[in-house]
């Protein structure tokens, strides 16, 4: 649009800059952490500039794919493996999101990780992760995409388990890795299916073209496989449970990996194969939409009862990803990506805000916080902006995208619309519950004594909470700008850009339009949620009188808050929500999640016992097994050739 079209080499540079940073850190800067951090920021900054250029080019092309030819990689007889770049509206937007968020997170990390013994390692991993994510987004071939998909999983494992000396972190990393692999297995099946049935077509665009011609059964298998991959990575029900645990990683990691990039990869994958999904039988759409819708409301209900601020955000992320998946299932391709786009900014902002709070108080437990709005004004206001945006308050970014999702639901499926509105209410409720517990009332002392000793606990806060350093609050401020305004891109042909990635006959986005019912319903729900939160957690009573009084600076009431808080928690929330939906959800987690974990443990033990019987260390056990094998093989082979025996 403004610049000449981006050459292919420059797009590759987006990918190779973080890779170079990783290699340089590993090779030369292992013992020079400061330079490692700066190098990472520089490399990702470079990627960001180039991603802007790519975005500009893509806008100029109306989102149509740029004409980059795939390069031959190698040939396995009949199978030509190639790699290349697919630059279209979808990938350009994703490149922009990934590089922007990553850049700000790196800046933030220099403050947050300051003094950590693994500083260089951290930045090396972050570079590697960013590279993998960028490679995933720009891949033109399914194989290339899958490779980076796995790399993303691997590096996120390293990042979640960054504080490996904490058993909980190590366990969480393992859990995330194993659980997402369940989903990846489905994805692999899809890859193999398409491989077997098309004779090795791996080009994504080509697969999407061929999809319409495939049999319904095959297409269902393929799209469900893709869905399975997305469910794992994007933490959708029933594979959602790794994400809250993954909060054991450093907060900037959550801010990058668990808000804007890796978890969004599942939604991206669905969007990438949107034409194939559209061609699939209706049952697939319904499945996707209902998985998304159920996850949205299910996770939101869990978010309400969490006391750990990061876990609130984790459940919120699951819930919002559910929104996006639901939108894809309803055919709302643009709405899904739009929501992904805005969500990346405000959720990243919220995660960084929670990190800033932790930096000051040494804890993530909201019951130990309170009153921070005076000591941490920047964090407070940016957090409020993020929360308002997430809650979908006009005219912040979240409002526009959430409205698009709800609009699609309104047209397609009234049940899911109702679910969406309910989720909007709950979203506002838990976010403002978090705000009131964290920033209002009185400071309740910060970190509990027993949780000390982590790298995350810094020493400054002993003097009482205070604002974080500039390297931390600057990204918050910068991120709050898109969190407010980025939704307005809807008026700038965002839909056209995104739809450029799919064939013309599937495009049906008609620009921004506001439906009265949807607007009213979502706004009322969001405001209702905020009001309820204020009533319960700020005013102390869920009655209008108390709520009105609460609007003044009432020290006395706030003093009572601690007491009331518990009542509210027990009565209104725990009594109703927790014992209802929340309890059910927790029970599911206990039964299924623990079941899986215990199952793995038990399987290992069983294997061990079995192994002890076979691999006894006595040579004759081995020869016995050997000869039994021979005898069985002979007998079976004789038996199967029964026609011979009859003679």
């Amino acid at each position: 649009m403004f610049l000449p079209d981006i050459p292919e080499a420059a797009v590759w540079a987006i990918y190779f800059a973080p890779l170079a940073s990783f290699l340089l850190i590993v090779g030369f800067l292992w013992r020079r952490p400061l330079e490692a951090g700066r190098l990472t920021i520089f490399a990702i900054g470079l990627s960001w500039v180039l991603a802007l250029w790519a975005l500009d080019t893509s806008i100029g092309l109306d989102g149509e794919p740029a004409a980059f030819e795939p390069h031959a990689w190698f040939t396995l007889f009949d199978l030509d493996i190639s790699f290349g770049i697919r630059l279209d509206g979808l990938s350009a937007v994703m490149l922009f999101v990934v590089t922007s968020v990553s850049l700000l997170v790196q800046v933030y990390s220099t403050g947050y990780m300051h003094g950590d013994t693994g500083y260089s390692r951290y930045f090396a991993f972050m570079s590697l992760f960013t590279m993998s994510m960028l490679g995933l987004v720009m891949a033109s071939s399914l194989l290339q995409l899958f490779i980076h998909w796995e790399l993303v999983g691997l590096t996120s494992y390293l990042l979640i388990g960054f504080w490996f000396h904490r058993p909980s972190a190590a366990a969480a990393a393992k859990k995330a890795f194993i659980v997402t692999r369940f989903g990846d297995f489905g994805f692999l099946v899809a890859v193999v299916l398409i491989w077997v049935k098309t004779g090795g077509v791996f080009d994504i665009a080509e697969i999407n073209e061929l999809a319409a011609g495939l049999s319904a059964a095959l297409l269902t298998g393929f799209t469900l496989g893709i869905l399975s991959g997305a469910v794992g990575k994007s933490a959708q029900f029933p594979l959602h449970f790794w994400l809250p645990d993954a909060m054991e990683g450093p907060t900037p990691v959550s801010s990058l990996v668990h808000s804007a990039t890796m978890v969004a990869a599942g939604v991206y994958l669905l969007a990438r194969f949107f034409p194939a999904i559209e061609a699939a039988p209706g049952g697939v759409h319904t499945t996707i939409a209902y998985i998304g819708g159920f996850t949205a409301i299910f996770a939101a209900s869990m978010g309400i009862v969490m006391t750990d601020i990061k876990r609130v955000l984790a459940y919120s992320t699951i819930s919002q990803l559910g929104y996006m998946v639901m939108a894809i299932g309803l055919g709302g391709y643009v709405a899904a990506i739009f929501h992904l786009f805005t969500h990346a900014f405000f959720k990243s902002l919220l995660f960084q805000g929670s990190g800033s709070v932790n930096h000051a108080t040494g804890t993530f437990d909201m019951r130990l916080m309170g009153g921070l709005r005076h000591s941490m004004p920047i964090t407070f206001w940016t957090f409020v902006v993020g929360s308002l945006s997430l809650a979908g308050i006009f005219p912040l970014a979240g409002f526009w995208s959430k409205d698009e999702v709800l609009l699609d639901a309104w047209h397609e499926d009234k049940i899911l619309f109702a679910v969406g509105v309910a989720v909007a209410f709950m979203t506002a409720l838990y976010m403002f519950r978090a705000i009131f517990m964290t920033f209002f009332g009185e400071y309740r002392g910060g970190e509990p004594a027993e949780s000390h000793g982590d790298a995350e606990a810094h020493d400054e806060h002993h003097a009482g909470p205070h604002e974080s350093p500039a390297s931390m609050w600057a990204p918050l401020v910068i991120l709050s700008i898109p969190a407010i305004f980025i939704g307005l891109v809807a008026f700038l042909d965002f839909g056209v850009l995104i739809e450029g990635a799919i064939p013309e006959e599937l495009r049906h986005f008609e620009g921004v339009h506001v439906d009265g019912v949807v607007l009213v319903a979502s706004t009322v729900a969001a405001l209702g949620g905020i009001g309820a939160a204020a009533a319960i957690y700020f005013a102390g009573q869920p009655s209008p009188d108390v709520l009105r009084q609460a609007l003044g600076p009432l020290h006395r009431l706030v003093e009572r808050k601690y007491y009331v808080d518990e009542v509210a928690e027990d009565g209104a929330v725990r009594g109703f929500l927790y014992n209802g939906a929340g309890r059910a959800a927790a029970a599911f987690d206990r039964v299924v999640v623990d079941g899986v974990v215990n199952g793995v443990g038990m399987a290992t033990r069983t294997l061990g016992d079995g192994l002890r019987r076979v691999q006894t260390g006595q040579m004759q056990a081995y020869t016995s097994l050997y000869l039994v094998g021979v005898v069985v093989a002979v007998v079976v082979l004789f038996a199967v050739s029964g026609d011979v025996l009859e003679r």
């Binding site: 590993v26 292992w30 190698f74 040939t75 396995l76 007889f77 009949d78 199978l79 493996i81 390692r121 490779i147 796995e150 790399l151 691997l154 494992y157 390293l158 388990g161 960054f162 490996f164 000396h165 190590a170 890795f177 194993i178 692999r181 990846d184 297995f185 692999l188 099946v189 193999v192 491989w195 077997v196 090795g200 290992t604 294997l607 061990g608 079995g610 192994l611 076979v614 691999q615 260390g617 040579m619 056990a621 081995y622 020869t623 097994l625 050997y626 000869l627 039994v628 094998g629 021979v630 093989a633 002979v634 082979l637 004789f638 199967v640 050739s641 026609d643 011979v644 003679r647």
Partner: protein, 487 residues
């Protein structure tokens, strides 16, 4: 054909065997260990150059009344075996020169490698049997050469199971010989191609017994029992030799016997042995990975992992039998990458365990801070064993799986699925080890680096893993040319 020409055809092996004698005699003359090491390397380089001569001058055809054949298949394995042996010898210098039996160690390694090269080009049951036994007996002795408690136990078990296995193999050979009336593989192939159902029973018995005998060498379940014990108990340099060269030779001879000797994928018993190898492959992958999950000793872990990897190659064998045209080249390619990968891993383990004084995974904690080079090479190789791109192991798995899918049998696709699931399982224990290396706090602070020569081969192996992963075409075409000979 003159006598010199006959000898010319077995040149590479001959150089190694003569080198072995020279090394052993030199020990009586010179007390200097370095010269033994140097002589061994000279012999290996000589063998390599001889093989190169064969490759460039286009020497081919049968020699010695059909006992051996020079073809690109044999040369492929000659190169693989010689290069692997070279790397092992370079890396084990510190270990070997510190002990009394250095000369015997080098001589036995050379004789074992020489007979393996011969094995890869043998074309006759009797030659195969004698060459196989020569390399086996050398390996039995090598396993116990440290003469410590564990090494002695490992070698005794290896030998006794090996002797039983050799008897089984021979019984199979006896049946093949009796039914076909000849010991030459080509003759057996002719017979199988024209035979009728009447010979089915004895033929099937014969080939099951032969497969079991080779399965022992390849470490396929249920013929694998010795593997973990020997890997754990024998000296690490010896194990690295066993895990690469011996395995490569095992698969070489299996491909030649089953593909050439039993007439490839078109005979009336092909389906039987396709299914059989399929079952063995699945069992190997499952058992190998399950066993590896529980291990704390790196060598034992690598032993189980090598069983699982043999299972992967077994998928290729099944595909070959089911008529896949990609199969043989896929197997060769897999073996090539596997040798590079395992070499890298084992040399790193040799270098590390000597300084750490332990083979426990826990003692590898924080290795990346104590010896970054070893750690990085180890990680690259472990990633390749897992099959994570952009390493060679990924391409190799892709190749093997593609071969199985191309054969077009539903059960083979199922087998691929088993392979894929097992790749996932294997990621678990490889990652666990990698995590220990990268993330855990080092137990001690002092750092170390291996000898320069060891560093060289280590980096070469690591680099090969990456280069093959990024640019696999040269190795693929080499494998294809070698496999084309068999068809």
């Amino acid at each position: 054909m003159s006598a010199t020409e006959h000898l010319h055809h077995i040149g590479p092996a001959l150089v190694l065997l003569i080198g072995s004698g020279v090394v052993f005699s030199a020990d009586l003359v010179t007390p200097r260990r370095a010269s033994l090491w140097g002589l061994t390397l000279v012999a290996l380089v000589g063998g390599f150059l001889y093989a190169l001569w064969h490759a460039t001058s286009g020497t081919s055809g049968e020699a010695l009344s059909g006992a051996v054949v020079v073809d690109e298949f044999g040369l492929f394995f000659a190169f693989v075996i010689i290069i692997a042996t070279f790397a092992v010898v370079v890396a084990s210098r510190d270990w070997a020169d510190g002990r009394e039996q250095a000369a015997e160690f080098y001589a036995l390694i050379l004789v074992s490698a020489g007979s393996m090269v011969l094995l890869a080009q043998s074309n006759d049951l009797i030659t195969i049997f004698v060459a196989l036994e020569t390399t086996s007996i050398a390996q039995f002795v090598l396993a116990g050469i440290a003469r410590d408690n564990r090494g002695a136990e490992a070698s005794l078990k290896y030998l006794l199971t090996g002797a039983v296995s050799a008897a089984i193999l021979l019984y199979g050979f006896a049946f093949l010989f009796g039914i076909a009336g000849t010991t030459s593989l080509a003759g057996i192939a002719d017979f199988v191609g024209t035979a009728d159902e009447g010979t089915r029973l004895p033929l099937m018995l014969g080939f099951v017994l032969v497969a079991a005998g080779f399965g022992f060498k390849m470490a396929l379940v249920p013929f694998h029992g010795w593997v973990p014990d020997v890997y754990q108990g024998a000296p690490t340099p010896v194990v690295s030799f066993l895990s690469v060269a011996s395995k490569a030779a095992g698969f070489a001879i299996v491909l030649r016997v089953f593909y050439t000797g039993l007439g490839g994928g078109g005979t009336f018993i092909s389906d039987d042995w396709a299914v059989m190898f399929g079952v063995l492959a699945a069992a190997s992958m499952v058992f190998g990975n399950a066993g590896a999950l529980l291990q704390t000793d790196v060598k034992r872990l690598l032993g189980y992992s090598s069983i699982a990897q043999a299972g992967n190659i077994g998928i290729g064998l099944a595909a070959v039998a089911a008529g896949s045209t990609i199969g043989p080249a896929g197997v060769l390619f897999f073996i090539g990458t596997y040798v590079a990968t395992n070499l890298g891993a084992f040399i790193a383990v040799i270098a590390a365990s000597q300084r750490l004084g332990s083979d426990e995974i826990a003692d590898y904690a924080g290795l990346i801070r104590r010896s970054p080079l070893i750690a990085v090479i180890l990680i690259v190789c472990l990633l390749s064993l897992t099959g994570i791109p952009p390493t060679a192991g990924f391409i190799a798995k892709l190749y093997i799986f593609n071969g199985a899918i191309q054969a077009g049998e539903t059960w083979l696709v199922g087998l691929v699925a088993v392979g894929v699931v097992n790749t996932g399982v294997s990621a678990y224990y490889y990652l666990r080890w990698m995590r220990t290396i990268v993330m855990d706090e080092p137990l001690e602070a002092w750092t170390f680096r291996p000898a320069v020569a060891t560093q060289g081969v280590m980096m070469a192996a690591g680099l090969a893993v990456l280069v093959i992963g990024l640019m696999p075409t040269p190795l693929i075409s080499a494998a294809q040319r070698a496999a084309a000979v068999l068809q």
